[in-house]
């Protein structure tokens, strides 16, 4: 384990990117910050700029208008980069599969480290997913 990964697993700063979702995963992500789930106690924090982030949290089917923005945001992110796909949409498109505006599953565009399935995943599931990712880093 390099020193970067060692520091990384202490507290993750997360940047949230919506690429054509239905809002629901996004609300559940916001819900994580509020008193019942309160992920800030683990040091996890949503940040305003991708340049500060360790983790890119992506929701949505990745629509055509978003593709150049997703690529650009991924490039702007400092290494080591972790990408989490939240919900069924970035994995295969959920009910929107086959739409003319779907640019494809997220992993065809940028590499993905963790998939959290569900429509939408419960906040507990998102926390469990992130905990598993931290395990993997060890």
């Amino acid at each position: 384990m390099g020193w970067r990964e060692k520091i990384l697993k202490r507290s993750l700063w997360v940047y949230h990117l919506a690429t054509g979702p239905c809002n629901n995963c996004d609300i559940e992500i916001l819900d994580l910050l509020t008193p019942r789930h309160d992920v800030e106690r683990f040091g996890i924090k949503l940040v305003g700029s991708v340049r500060h982030a360790d983790v890119l949290l992506v929701t949505g089917i990745v629509n055509r208008k978003c593709v150049p923005r997703v690529l650009r945001i991924y490039e702007q992110m400092p290494a080591p980069k972790l990408v989490i796909a939240v919900g069924a949409c970035p994995m295969g498109g959920c009910v929107f599969k086959g739409s003319y505006n779907q640019a494809g599953p997220l992993d065809k565009i940028i590499p993905v480290d963790l998939y959290i399935p569900g429509c939408p995943p419960k906040p507990e599931a998102i926390i469990a997913g992130i905990a598993k990712l931290l395990e993997k880093l060890k």
């Binding site: 940047y15 949230h16 990117l17 919506a18 690429t19 054509g20 979702p21 239905c22 809002n23 629901n24 995963c25 996004d26 609300i27 559940e28 916001l30 819900d31 509020t34 008193p35 019942r36 949503l46 940040v47 305003g48 700029s49 991708v50 949505g60 089917i61 629509n63 208008k65 978003c66 923005r69 945001i73 959920c94 009910v95 929107f96 086959g98 739409s99 003319y100 505006n101 779907q102 429509c119 939408p120 419960k122």
Partner: protein, 395 residues
């Protein structure tokens, strides 16, 4: 003074949906705004043409996660209008109950975010804490926290378990108490009042010109509400009032929504009373969908949702048109934003409760020199104004 263009968007860490605004400013004053949307376009109208009548219900539920029962209600109304079918009475009450619970959770969500934009993070945390029991109620009654998928053309998919009703009443009673406390606290605070009063006024003329709907229109004194005007489900079977205000500024938009939450709690309780008496089927059978056209509407938390379907007698719609309330409410920012201060821009954009706006970064372009403000800076700008006012009022 030199004009500058400030792009807000398309990405923002706190809002759900990406949207892109270009604000033209002169100093601190906003003079023009341009809206770009489409970062969320999923081609649902085309997809609906390849799904069966039943499947479309689940597709439209996923148009928006916050109004995930509004679109199905409007769609089912449209199909039932097309087939001229009347749904069973018990199903009507269940639809109303789910629809009103959704309004409570959606308005609470907005109230919390509005508090965050004003620099009152306590409001955000409190309100979202109180929102959790509403989601628990959903989970107990429908099986899901979000995306309840309760509806099908002809009725509802499953019956409610009445054992939960006493507990639901208790939770809603507590929510009511908390909200009364919060609304007094909000309306007593001189800082919040001066941040909201007289800002971002939407006149009744603009409501008509832009066709604005929902709380955005009702805050300006335009009393339109599909639930009253064109009743469907059980809205003509229970007693309730339409909440309106007069000034059309941000304060009234907050007040209207708080009043609506109280009204909705009352309606949910009435529906539960009725459901304990009215028994029977929850599905009417629709054997086939005849050729023709149907229009269905529902008053979603944000305003009127409109669905148009056309059938050729086959197994799926040949055209399905959806108009969400934000589609007509969003352009109203062209009327409300110009003339306001930059620090107020974020709360004005948020005031229509769009299924949402905003920023990844904000670039202030002036005199060819590029200076980048992050989205956080913009929120900070809003917070600083609150701080200034706080000092002024000695709080």
């Amino acid at each position: 003074m030199a004009k500058a263009v400030i792009p807000i968007g398309p990405y923002h860490p706190l809002q759900e949906e990406p949207e892109h605004f270009l604000l033209t400013v002169e100093g601190e004053k906003v003079v023009d705004v341009e809206v770009h949307i489409g970062y969320n376009h999923r081609g649902i109208e085309k997809l609906a043409e390849h799904k069966s009548w039943q499947q479309v219900t689940f597709l439209v539920a996923r148009i928006c996660g916050i109004c995930s029962t509004s679109h199905p209600i409007a769609y089912c109304n449209a199909v039932e209008n097309l087939c001229r079918v009347e749904i069973p009475e018990r199903a009507k009450y269940i639809r109303t109950l789910v629809g009103e619970l959704e309004r409570i959770h959606s308005h609470l969500l907005w109230l919390g975010l509005a508090g965050h934009f004003l620099g009152y993070n306590t409001v955000w945390m409190w309100v979202w804490k109180w929102r959790e029991p509403v989601l628990d109620i959903f989970e107990a009654l429908t099986g899901n926290r979000n995306h309840y998928d309760m509806l099908l053309p002809g009725g509802v998919r499953r019956d409610l378990n009445e054992e939960y009703f006493p507990w639901v009443r208790k939770e809603l009673g507590e929510l009511k108490k908390n909200l009364e406390m919060l609304s007094k606290a909000i309306l007593d605070d001189p800082v919040i009042i001066s941040r909201l009063k007289g800002i971002g006024v939407l006149t009744p003329e603009d409501v008509k010109n832009y066709g604005a709907v929902g709380p955005t229109a009702r805050a300006s004194g335009v009393k339109i509400d599909v639930r009253k005007d064109d009743p469907y489900a059980a809205y003509d079977l229970i007693q309730w009032e339409v909440a309106t205000c007069e000034n059309g500024d941000l304060l009234d938009k907050v007040v209207v929504r708080i009043l609506e939450i109280f009204e909705s709690i009352k309606m949910v309780e009435e529906c539960m009373d009725a459901l304990e008496k009215v028994k029977g089927e929850v599905m009417a059978t629709i054997k086939e969908v005849p050729p023709g056209e149907g229009i269905g509407r529902h008053e979603a938390p944000r305003g009127e949702t409109f669905h148009y379907v056309r059938s050729d007698g086959g197994s799926s719609p040949i055209r399905h048109k959806v108009r969400a309330p934000t589609y007509v409410n969003l352009p109203t920012c062209k009327a409300t934003l110009p003339g306001s201060q930059l620090a107020d821009a974020i709360i004005i954009l948020a005031s229509i409760d769009p299924c949402y706006c905003c920023t990844e970064r904000v670039a202030v372009v002036s005199d060819k020199k590029k200076e980048y403000l992050t989205q956080e800076d913009l929120i900070k700008l809003s917070w600083e104004k609150t701080e200034k006012l706080r000092r002024k009022y000695g709080k």
